[in-house]
């Protein structure tokens, strides 16, 4: 592992990401718009569930942030698929860079971008939408990092098993809606149908939102995030294991 070369790859991938910032702007602006529309509903739901002083942002901000973070999974997959489309994948592999260095160069800039997006949405939630964080800010940070870890693992899994960019985007969109919906991002799990409540713990988004809820609404300390953080990391470990099993640098990917 040569860190100097990894930094070269990371810088270049950051430039590639910034060459077309429209998707990044869209995935940051859209959840803010959705928060505006859904805050009133969130307030009503929280009041009915024993949080009379809540602004509604405590439910809506983490929900939208998590859902759109799932959409961001496409950044990492696209970073790999586009190399195939541009014909540069073999050039990269024929350079001195190792597979690990190339992968880190692709993953870390996107992961950093997703983390910044998450922090920005929570910051706007506090400043603009009046979200109060009653518990541990450190716990909030831990959950954010765990979110990014599982999303990176998920993106690697999709990159490993899918063959085309179209498949990638279709699965990312579907997974974002299903994981976020069942996990409680659109409405609290308590109000979901019985079958959805049963399935909810199978969604990593459920554990992300449980962790956020513990520190934002329930005055939880750092210790309150241990179980949801651990559950999230178990998902990440499983996805990473499958990704490493299935990933092959010589697989042909199609950029459509």
């Amino acid at each position: 592992m040569n860190w100097s070369r990894s930094l070269v790859l990371m810088r270049q991938n950051w430039e590639l990401l910034m060459a077309d910032p429209a998707p990044i702007v869209l995935l940051t602006a859209m959840p803010l718009v959705m928060m505006t529309f859904l805050q009133g509903t969130g307030r009503a739901v929280l009041m009915a569930n024993g949080y009379p002083d809540a602004s509604g942002a405590e439910l809506v901000v983490p929900g939208m942030a998590v859902m759109f973070a799932f959409f961001g999974v496409g950044f990492i997959g696209t970073a790999f698929f586009s190399e195939h489309g541009w014909g540069t994948w073999d050039r990269l592999r024929a350079s001195e860079a190792t597979t690990l260095e190339i992968s880190l160069g692709k993953i870390l800039p996107s992961a950093l971008l997703m983390l910044v997006q998450l922090i920005a949405l929570f910051a706007v939630g506090v400043v603009v939408f009046g979200m109060r964080i009653d518990g541990s800010v450190a716990g909030l940070g831990v959950m954010m990092v765990c979110c990014i870890v599982v999303l990176v693992a998920f993106s690697m899994l999709l990159t490993a098993v899918l063959r085309t960019q179209s498949q990638l985007m279709a699965v990312v969109n579907l997974a974002a809606m299903v994981f976020a919906g069942i996990g409680g991002a659109l409405a609290p799990v308590d109000v979901l149908p019985g079958w959805a409540r049963t399935l909810a713990p199978l969604s990593p988004a459920y554990w992300m939102l449980q962790g956020f809820r513990a520190v934002i609404l329930d005055h939880g300390g750092l210790d309150a995030t241990i179980v949801p953080a651990a559950a999230t990391l178990v998902f990440a470990a499983g996805m990473t294991a499958v990704a490493m099993w299935r990933f092959s640098v010589s697989d042909e990917k199609v950029w459509e």
């Binding site: 014909g87 050039r91 350079s95």
Partner: protein, 313 residues
């Protein structure tokens, strides 16, 4: 600089490389020829670390490329057959990225970028996004990206496909200069005249094996044979020693000029129907075709020396 011995590779039951032996010295340009599917791209891919070999050995600059691919890759420059550039980045950034990836930093990167850009007439395009370049400009950038790390062994896989005459000449000139600077160049092409222009040695790959290796003149002397070709108005007459096919009669002979003079006296009544007398000089293409039994490129002309109708008249 490059030594390949007994290289084998199979995809399932399909054995693509069947014990390839090939070497290239420092400063040598090797024209790697062969029909489609002969195994050229697989061979290049294995040396560049993109595919694993089943058996055999590859040494690049003394480094075992199969055991220590990373070090060997550091000595290589590769321009694959298909264009590979970052369209959203500038020409300068496309070049500097691969220079930095090779471990160059700071002023050295700038100097290398300037050098290769100058060699391939890309200097005025350095600030332009690669996606906005013309086809020929992209082809030059694609080649420049393989040169920017100052490789010891350079693989160019059909570098002039789709290139205009100017681009082609620039690429050929850069190849000559790289070789003159001591680089071993493996140049894959279907344009056999380019191999001759480069004064390259030749390796003919057919069905996964190198079936001929050497200088063009030596291969032509060994495998080629000059011929006299007569073209008639109507079916060619039966002539002693000639192969007749429709209106054309061909005689393979070491001295076709003398044979032409001789045959004039024996044509008799057929002389009035004679429309053309060609002396067919043995060329790399003729050798290639006789070795592979296939036509490599319909557009590549056979070298002929036409004696013309007035000689007959």
């Amino acid at each position: 600089m490059l030594e390949i011995k007994g290289l084998r590779k199979a995809y399932g039951d399909n054995e693509v490389l069947r014990g390839v032996d090939l070497d290239a010295r420092s400063g040598e340009i090797v024209g790697l020829l062969g029909p489609n599917g002969a195994g050229k791209t697989t061979l290049v891919s294995i040396v560049a670390g993109l595919r694993r070999a089943d058996s055999g050995s590859v040494r690049v600059g003394g480094v075992d490329a199969l055991a220590d691919s990373q070090t060997a890759r550091g000595l290589l420059g590769l321009a694959p057959q298909d264009l590979g550039v970052y369209p959203v980045l500038s020409v300068e950034r496309n070049l500097s990225f691969f220079a930095e990836l090779a471990g160059l930093r700071g002023r050295t990167v700038r100097d290398r970028v300037v050098d290769v850009a100058d060699a391939l007439d890309l200097t005025r395009l350095l600030g332009q996004r690669a996606g906005t370049l013309s086809g020929g400009q992209k082809r030059r950038l694609h080649t420049a990206m393989a040169l920017v790390n100052d490789p010891k062994v350079l693989f160019l896989d059909e570098p002039t496909v789709g290139a205009d005459v100017r681009t082609r000449n620039q690429i050929l000139e850069v190849v000559r200069r790289r070789a003159a600077a001591g680089c071993a160049v493996v140049y894959t092409s279907h344009y056999l005249t380019e191999i001759e222009d480069l004064a390259a040695t030749v390796a003919v790959l057919e069905a996964g094996q190198v079936i001929a290796r050497g200088r063009v003149v030596d291969l032509v002397a060994e495998y080629g044979s000059p011929a006299l070709r007569l073209t008639f108005d109507g079916p060619a007459p039966a002539l002693d020693g000639f192969e007749v096919s429709g209106p054309v009669a061909t005689l393979k002979t070491p001295d076709p000029a003398r044979a032409a003079a001789d045959i004039m006296t024996r044509l008799n009544g057929s002389a009035a129907r004679l429309r053309g007398v060609d002396i067919v000089r043995p060329s790399l293409e003729a050798v290639y075709l006789s070795l592979t039994g296939r036509r490599s490129n319909e557009e590549t002309p056979t070298e002929t020396e036409e004696i013309t109708d007035e000689l007959v008249a």
